[in-house]
């Protein structure tokens, strides 16, 4: 029974693993391009295990942003997980302490979505199923990072093969993923303009904190809208 659950999880996670693989390799290549060693890149994938925030982390690190801001940004990009772990609390209450620890470590976007879906259908959420689903995404993520990092080290000029355009486009895609959120346009407009102004008048890396702060303060100051603040939903992550 337990074994069946595990393999059911593995089968469920398999297509997601395939979809996430290019991003793992991309992360590895870009991390090396931003001054990481191969081991650093693999270490980050194995310990942080959150694609979008890893990309943010290496980009900021490559731009010599202050360490506290790198960590804060990683925290900010991953903040949605707070909602996930709150939301699936009711399904994982029966896990042991150690199982919970591991389960929350593996709580990436698709893991959340699938757990929620399964729970809503009334299917049992066993630790075996959860672990199978999680590991079939986690382990290839590390292997793909390694492959990408090795490949990245072989590249002489990242610009010649167009690597430099990938991160901005990737981040643009992530930003667009939030477009259904409350006051998306004013926040993005203000953050964008403030970061450009920050880049122009103060310089990198301060444009990140200046732009981010401008958008966040605006969101806090705007009068609450009638539209209920919908819970963030599931943002797509690599």
């Amino acid at each position: 029974m337990t074994k069946d659950d595990f393999w059911e999880g593995v089968r469920g996670g398999f297509p997601i693993m395939l979809a996430a693989s290019p991003f793992g390799a991309l992360f590895g290549a870009l991390a090396v391009d931003n001054g990481f060693t191969i081991a650093d890149a693999v270490f980050m994938s194995a310990t942080v295990y959150a694609g979008a925030s890893q990309m943010v982390g290496i980009e900021l690190f490559g731009n010599h942003v202050q360490p506290w801001l790198v960590v804060l940004s990683v925290f900010a990009v991953n903040f949605r997980h707070v909602l996930y772990s709150a939301s699936i609390a009711k399904y994982v209450r029966h896990f042991t302490f150690g199982q919970k620890f591991l389960a929350f470590f593996l709580l990436v976007d698709p893991q959340y979505a699938e757990t929620e879906k399964r729970g809503e259908r009334g299917l049992p959420i066993t630790f075996s199923w959860y672990l199978g689903f999680g590991l079939i995404i986690y382990i290839p993520w590390i292997i793909n990072t390694l492959a990408g990092a090795v490949f990245g080290q072989l590249i002489g000029d990242p610009k010649a093969i167009g690597l430099d355009v990938l991160l901005p486009v990737y981040f643009m895609g992530l930003v667009m993923g939030f477009r259904k959120r409350d006051r998306f346009l004013p926040i993005v407009t203000v953050s964008g303009l403030a970061s450009i102004a920050g880049m122009h008048f103060v310089g990198s890396p301060w444009h990140v904190s200046i732009g981010a702060l401008a958008g966040i303060v605006l969101a806090a100051l705007l009068p609450p809208s009638n539209q209920a603040v919908a819970p963030t939903g599931i943002e797509k992550e690599a």
Partner: protein
Amino acid sequence: MDPQHLNLIYLIIAAAVATFLTRVGGYILITQMKEIPPRLEAALNAVPAAVLTTLVAPAFVYGGLDVTIAMFVAFAIALGLNLSTLRMLVIGWVVVMVIRHVVM
């Protein structure tokens, strides 16, 4: 290991701890807290878009004409056809490669 590299290791560990805190935080909070103040919630809700935009806008403006064009084309097509991030990446990459190796 040289001190600078050691700092990077510490940075990665700090990022891992911060990430884990977000993944376990909701579970802990839900058993403690009843309601998040609405303005705090609005601010938190704005954090990802606000942070990520600061990584996009300067590249769009200062990244060079080829990057600007690639970003714009990828944006327009992805928005129009509701494409995934991966497809959008491919479009942006193809455009920049064509400009660099074919047009120029």
